[in-house]
Subunit: 251 residues, 2 copies
């Protein structure tokens, strides 16, 4: 299996604290890592087939404070497809003049969707097939970019058709919002005023967010397993799809 980490904020935020703890888990999830940072419509996309504990690229990400309102990271433990760059999440495609980044935790069995349009997998994973099918079906459902709530509704119709093949926790972003689907395991926390200190579970590291934020900042962090042991993580339920915008879940 793999692990997912997503961030959605109302102000460009760096992921250094959360990624430090998250990438520690790469000792177990060693078959590659990837991270996508949106900057406006633009995207920085780092992937490596090395473990996030070894990769010079992961080291850059831990040390270089790239600030973004929408981030998706993934550490991989291969279940399908060889350990190779073309099988490393997040996957990226363009639709409606926006980039879309997608990362999956889980395993889909006998999943061979009908891909008849313009999204084809480059690699060999169930995950990329699912992403291509989602893009294809979203393109059919909307002539142009819908708002985050409308897109959430369309996902709610499409996702069960994939999820019946297995475990399908995923994160999806287009640089405007972050959508998260929980199949078996996904947690989120909202960080907002008054900010407090938090201590990483995987690392001997505490940060006082009040030192790094202004009172109007809002950040939502979504992750497979809670990263800290002193924050109010919410466990998502099976089948739940949440859309996050400006650091808040949509009602």
């Amino acid at each position: 299996m793999c692990q997912l980490l997503g961030l959605n904020a109302n102000t460009p935020t760096d992921l250094m604290f959360s990624f430090s703890g998250f990438s520690r888990r790469a000792e177990e999830h060693k078959d590659g890592f990837g991270i996508a940072f949106f900057e406006g419509r633009g995207l920085r996309h780092f992937v490596d087939h090395q473990s996030a504990t070894q990769s010079p690229i992961a080291d850059l990400v831990r040390r270089y404070p790239i600030r973004s309102e929408h981030i998706i990271a993934h550490i991989r433990k291969a279940t399908q497809g060889q350990v190779a760059l073309h099988n490393t999440h997040p996957f990226v495609r363009e639709l409606w003049g926006r980039y879309w980044a997608f990362a999956h935790n889980g395993n889909l069995v006998d999943y061979a969707p009908k891909l008849h349009a313009s999204f084809r997998p480059v690699g060999d994973t169930d995950s990329e097939r699912a992403f291509c099918w989602l893009m294809q079906e979203l393109a059919k459902n909307h002539a142009r970019l819908p708002d985050a709530a409308e897109l959430r509704q369309t996902l709610a119709e499409l996702v069960p058709q994939i999820a019946r093949h297995g475990t399908f926790n995923f994160l999806l972003s287009n640089g405007d919002a972050l959508w998260a689907h929980c199949s078996t395991k996904l947690h989120y926390v909202l960080r907002q005023h008054p900010f407090a200190a938090a201590t990483l579970q995987d690392d001997d590291l505490t940060v006082n967010f009040a030192d790094h934020t202004t009172p109007t900042d809002r950040v939502a962090v979504v992750v497979t397993e809670p990263l800290t042991h002193d924050e109010a993580w919410v466990a998502m339920t099976t089948g739940e799809i949440k859309a996050f915008r400006l650091g808040l879940p949509l009602a």
Copy 2:
């Protein structure tokens, strides 16, 4: 204007020597840089809106010997579109289950192609519009991935329709071959046995390729202006399209 650098080799090759000289030119071309490395079908794609002389990401590329058979790099001096990540070359799309990377040197005037299919620009540049149109028309011309020579022929039919709008030097790769079109300025050199020493024009750096290669290695480097002053650079001519595969130009 901008500058282009492409590499095509028959064995995974690092770009550290050539990129060191090339990125020196970024003092003048300071509005971003980008580089795409194919690894098999996979792609590493680094972009920054900072100059390649300043960017921590460019520094990683200079120091970390990423080996690839197909590389496209670009340093930008903005002519159209703001200085932003979404306007930074190379641009990437997926077609026929392969990633395609594209970088452009030049300026297209009043260029508004009809984009009616599934490739839309995310940013505001003439370059990305041209790339989207090329992808759209290639998809119409071939039901599946053609070979490098067939694709060169299709490009020869399509490219003049863009080039009549202005200067259109470009590099295109899909991880199988590298295509280069010269509108005004593009040079290439073939490095093969017997390898010799070469000295960068922009930097006080000499490398003896014989120390870093085996006799069967072949590398083609394509660039806006020759990088070294002691190699046999070939100037491409206006309207010429070359396809490089396994470190050699196709006949």
